[in-house]
């Protein structure tokens, strides 16, 4: 762990500026906003997984006093509301392209905000009720009569590609939306032909849901005078939401304003526009009244994008000494009822081989649709799934062919001198020391002392197991970001940035950047986000891009501020600009010391400055960063199983993530802790379950969907490495997803290790008590 004693700027474990309002109840979450005379929305949702909508009769509902409107797919089309603007593939230049083998286009279907012909999943919106209260809107929804023609459904991912599967989109003829092959089939098959050993896995990385604790909500206001729609709603970023909403409503982007203050978690599933956001905006414009919608948790389970859901078959070829030769397989990514997002499939398959030296590989990748909620990226989209596959394969190979698990990893892990390294799919890993980090976590997790703990547990009747997993993460995302910095004469620095926090603590960590570069105390730095009338450009938080890109644009804008400041200071001191220095927040020119704010004041007061230096002291950096980043690390997990009931307890959990350069170590550790909990949650307890016959959502509330709680975890031993990233000007690597990326694999490796005496070599997630009990007792 990097020890730091810094109290300011980059590297300081600064307490957060945003905390005060949040611990005193003065946070501003979406549902905290209200408008005079606002109406309330309730959405009538499909109770069927797959059904043709024959007729909707809202007469009785509309007769209820206080019910203002009932809108359906018919009105939606009549008003020209466009389908959701999904970009199914990641478009970052560093991500691999996903062309279909047969040259055809990826199938995409219009995702209307209200179902217009068929409902394709339980929870799909069928009608929107607007009334004077939520309770009344609900009462009215019960009076809407919808006639459905119920169709056969398909929800299970393996089932989607079967010949006799129900077809979600008749237009496509099957549920397979694309069929992509990556890597080299010829080389891979040749390598497999020579292999001494082949390890195999067939697994389904189950579907989970993001569960940000703040349920989604939206408040829309239509200004008749200006014709503008203002939407207050929490999301992954305000700027993209503005453009997407404008597109759907058929409005100019400048006529849409997004306001986003505190956002209660995102994790990716909240990252983009939702049908409800558009519908709330549409209702406000149509009724010329403010309208509000707030999801209840059970509604979130039926409407929030879900995640993961990857069916994989994979093989790893090894020579007789355990050297990895090749890898091949097939991934099926279940996108749900709409062609909303296939990027987890893409971002997983491009790093299937992780950070091991595997010369060749070939994978088939197929996005499919099903009668389930649409899926989207969730905490490290696509990567936890494939790291799980790789790390499980290694343990399977070690077990089956008699290798030591750690030695096998040591033998195949890329060495620092191998880097940069182009993996078999074309991704170029930047730099790092994979071996050092793995050794560090083995030490932290006391790998060598484990057998004594296993024996001690056995004496107590418990099964203890340990696992290790390495990971790499492809951080790409929207490549463009902008920062605007204004130094105010009153001693404040305003930083407008296009990326908003949903809990990551940007008000603090981004301020630390400005402090580092401009030498102004953090409490004088105001991070301004979340109002698109102020923030014009920015990509939001996803794919490890928040700090990675913000640091670049804040750094560049700060440099420009200093450059401008030097010229102003030179004029003030009548000195040569080339001789002016900037140290500790002061410009030194011809023996004079002028503070940043002295200069800012001069910029606003003096009339002898060249045009480009006139007030305010301002700089903008707008950058498009086409390099990907490859944060990596290693985790060790130890579990203890009660064989009588099959319950699994996390006994110990250690991490070392290379963050390149830690801006705020306290915040980074917090990110890691939360990431671990989401990963362990998936490994041990979380699962979205659909009934395989009826397509009904069986996990519709916290009564059935198991959320990790405080007593599911020990304290974590979280460490990190700081090997500067060579593709980032400041050496920073993303740190938000490392907690989750290897957690699925490492936890399951530990569970399987604990069960080694029972002939267990693999178990699909989640490792629930019953599943573990069945494995121990060899019950099907």
């Amino acid at each position: 762990m990097a020890a730091t004693t810094k109290t300011t700027g980059i590297g300081a474990a600064l307490r957060r500026k945003e905390d005060l309002r949040l611990i005193t109840g003065r946070g501003e979450f979406t549902d905290d906003f209200r408008e005079a005379g606002q109406l309330y929305i309730y959405f009538l949702r499909s109770p069927h997984a797959h059904a043709r909508i024959i007729k909707i009769d809202a007469t009785e509902a509309l007769a209820l006093p206080g019910v203002k409107s009932v809108l359906t797919g018919k009105e939606l089309l009549a008003d020209g509301i466009k389908p959701l603007p999904h970009h199914v593939w990641a478009l970052h230049p560093a991500d691999i392209a996903m062309p279909n083998v047969d040259g055809s286009e990826t199938f995409m279907a219009p995702h209307h905000a209200i179902a217009v012909d068929k409902a394709r999943h339980v929870g799909e919106i069928v009608a929107m009720v607007v009334a004077t209260s939520v309770a009344l809107a609900k009462d009215a929804a019960e009076l809407i009569h919808v006639e459905y023609d119920i169709l056969p459904s398909v929800t299970n991912t393996w089932d989607t590609v079967k010949q006799d599967a129900a077809v979600v989109w008749d237009e496509n003829g099957s549920n397979v939306c694309g069929d992509v092959e990556t890597g080299s089939r010829e080389d891979t098959n040749a390598a497999f032909a020579k292999a001494a050993h082949v390890a195999r896995i067939e697994t389904w990385v189950q579907r989970v849901t993001g569960v940000p604790m703040e349920p989604r909500a939206a408040l829309a206001v239509f200004d008749e005078g200006t014709g503008r729609v203002t939407l207050t709603a929490g999301s992954g970023g305000s700027v993209r939401l503005k453009y997407d909403l404008a597109h759907m409503l058929g409005m100019k982007s400048e006529d849409v304003r997004i306001i986003m203050k505190d956002v209660g978690g995102n994790f990716g599933t909240r990252g983009m526009i939702y049908a409800e956001f558009c519908l709330v905006g549409w209702a406000a414009r149509r009724l010329k009244t403010p309208v509000k919608w707030t999801a209840e948790r059970s509604e979130s389970f039926q409407s929030d994008y879900q995640a993961r859901d990857l069916a994989v078959t994979a093989e790893l070829a090894l020579d007789k000494d355990g050297k990895f030769l090749a890898m091949r397989g097939s991934n099926i990514g279940n996108a749900g009822a709409h062609t909303s997002n296939f990027s987890p499939l893409q971002k997983g398959v491009e790093i299937m081989t992780s950070i091991y030296n595997i010369p060749t590989a070939c994978f088939r990748a197929r996005p499919v649709v099903s009668n389930t909620l649409p899926t989207r990226p969730y905490r490290s989209a696509g990567r936890p799934e494939v790291m799980f596959v790789m790390e499980r394969l290694i343990d399977i190979a070690a077990r089956e062919f008699g290798f030591d698990r750690v030695e096998l990893r040591r033998k195949n892990l890329l060495h620092k001198e191998d880097l940069p390294f182009k993996n078999p799919f074309g991704m170029i890993y930047d730099n790092g020391d994979y071996h050092a980090v793995m050794e560090q976590v083995l030490e932290l997790g006391d790998w060598t002392g484990f057998e004594a703990r296993r024996a001690e547990a056995k004496a107590r009747g418990k099964l203890r197991g340990i696992g290790v997993a390495n990971y790499v993460d492809t951080a790409t995302g929207v490549p463009r970001e902008r920062a605007e910095i204004t130094v105010r004469p009153d001693g404040q620095v305003d930083v407008i940035i296009g990326t908003i926090s949903q809990g990551q603590g940007h008000e603090t960590s981004f301020a630390q950047l400005a402090t580092e570069f401009l030498h102004v105390p953090e409490d004088k730095v105001n991070i301004i986000t979340g109002d698109t009338d102020v923030v014009k450009v920015g990509g939001g938080t996803h794919s490890g891009r928040g700090m990675r890109l913000a640091s670049i644009v804040i750094w560049k804008a700060s440099n420009e501020i200093i450059a401008k400041g030097k010229r102003i200071a030179a004029l003030m001191a009548k000195a040569d600009p080339a001789q002016v220095t900037f140290e500790k927040g002061h410009f030194h020119a011809a023996g004079q010391s002028l503070s940043l704010f002295d200069v800012a004041r001069a910029a606003s007061e003096r009339n002898d400055l060249p045009d480009d230096l006139r007030a305010p002291l301002y700089a903008m950096s707008d950058e498009t960063v086409n390099e990907a980043a490859f944060p990596y690390g290693a985790h060790v997990c130890e579990v203890e199983i009660d064989p009588a009931l099959g319950t699994v307890e996390i006994a110990r959990y250690s991490t070392v993530d290379d963050v390149g350069r830690a801006v705020n170590p306290m915040i980074i550790h917090g990110q890691t802790h939360g990431g671990i909990a989401q990963g362990v949650g998936q490994a041990l307890m979380e699962e979205i379950v659909y009934d395989r016959q009826s397509g009904q959502l069986m996990t519709g509330s916290f009564m059935d969907y198991t959320m990790p709680r405080a007593d599911n975890f020990p304290f974590f031993d979280a460490g990190f490495a700081e090997i500067p990233c060579t593709t980032h000007p400041l050496g920073i690597r993303p740190a938000g997803e490392g907690g989750t990326t290897p957690a699925l694999g490492v936890t399951m490796n530990a569970v399987v290790d604990a069960l080694r005496d029972f002939g267990v070599t693999h178990m699909d997630m989640p490792a629930t008590p019953e599943k573990v009990w069945r494995a121990i007792h060899r019950k099907a």
Partner: protein
């Protein structure tokens, strides 16, 4: 939630007559089960009769060799009662495991028993300890009280006022809790009473049930070894996402075993 008329009677008599007047009136004690089901529109009542203002319904006391617990005694009070920790610690421990601390701060024993949730904890104690349910009309023996899924022997306008527990020689409750809902997947209450052992299981079936084979074996010898080789006859058990019937059957055996061990380790009263 559907709207309703709210009543806050100050006497049992008023409460009963309010209920008698309306076929769709519902008494509310802590509301920890009633309100969630109403919020999700799973139940609809014209009238809610809040029992909170009725005096003398809560408290824990010992009387003639019994423990008497007022119907509106909250779980937290049961969990922390010094009297129970001395005389009937198993019941305090059971209460400590209900829901979560905030639910225990409001939920009541009478409310839980009257609701008769098949996965609630208290019903197992009522049956295992051969308790008597004291109501506004009569006294009902434990074995006659729970009649089905969310069904009891209570009439519509009949309210529980107290529960009278026999004090066992030794007892223990062991709960295998549902990871999401925190209800019991299986809860086993084992009580060594004067002359006989009673074993009651909650969570596993449509309502709390006893296991005669275990009771006989344990009556002869009160130790977990006495269970070896005894095959209990179980009713048809629940299957849900978190536990299939055969896993539950196994868990029943395991939790009874654990409860016996825990009880046997106690000093006999």
């Amino acid at each position: 939630m559907y709207d309703f008329s709210y009543h806050r009677p100050t006497s049992l008599q008023d409460a009963v007559s309010l209920l008698a007047k309306q076929p769709d009136a519902k008494p509310m004690s802590g509301g920890m089960s009633l309100l969630p089901s109403m919020k999700l529109r799973l139940s609809k009542w014209t009238d809610v009769v809040d029992l909170a203002a009725i005096p003398d319904l809560s408290g824990i006391r010992e009387e003639a060799g019994h423990i008497i617990i007022g119907a509106r005694t909250r779980h937290v009070e049961v969990a922390t009662s010094a009297l129970l920790h001395a005389k009937l610690p198993a019941l305090a421990e059971l209460a400590e495991g209900i829901g979560d601390p905030l639910v225990r701060n409001r939920g009541t024993i009478g409310g839980s028993i009257a609701n008769a949730d098949p996965a609630a904890d208290y019903p197992s104690s009522v049956v295992a300890l051969d308790a008597t349910i004291i109501t506004t009309r009569r006294e009902i023996a434990a074995d006659a009280f729970f009649t089905g899924l969310f069904e009891t022997a209570l009439a519509h306008d009949e309210l529980i006022t107290a529960v009278r527990y026999k004090i066992p020689k030794r007892a223990a409750y062991m709960k295998f809790r549902h990871p999401a809902s925190r209800y019991a997947i299986v809860g086993a209450f084992v009580a060594q009473m004067e002359g006989a052992v009673r074993v009651a299981i909650t969570g596993a079936g449509p309502h709390v049930f006893r296991i005669a084979a275990y009771e006989d074996a344990l009556t002869k010898t009160f130790s977990s070894a006495a269970l070896d080789g005894v095959t209990p006859k179980l009713p048809s058990l629940n299957t849900d996402l978190h536990a299939s019937a055969d896993y539950r059957a196994h868990a029943v055996v395991e939790m009874v075993r654990r409860a016996v061990k825990a009880a046997a380790a106690r000093k006999s009263i």
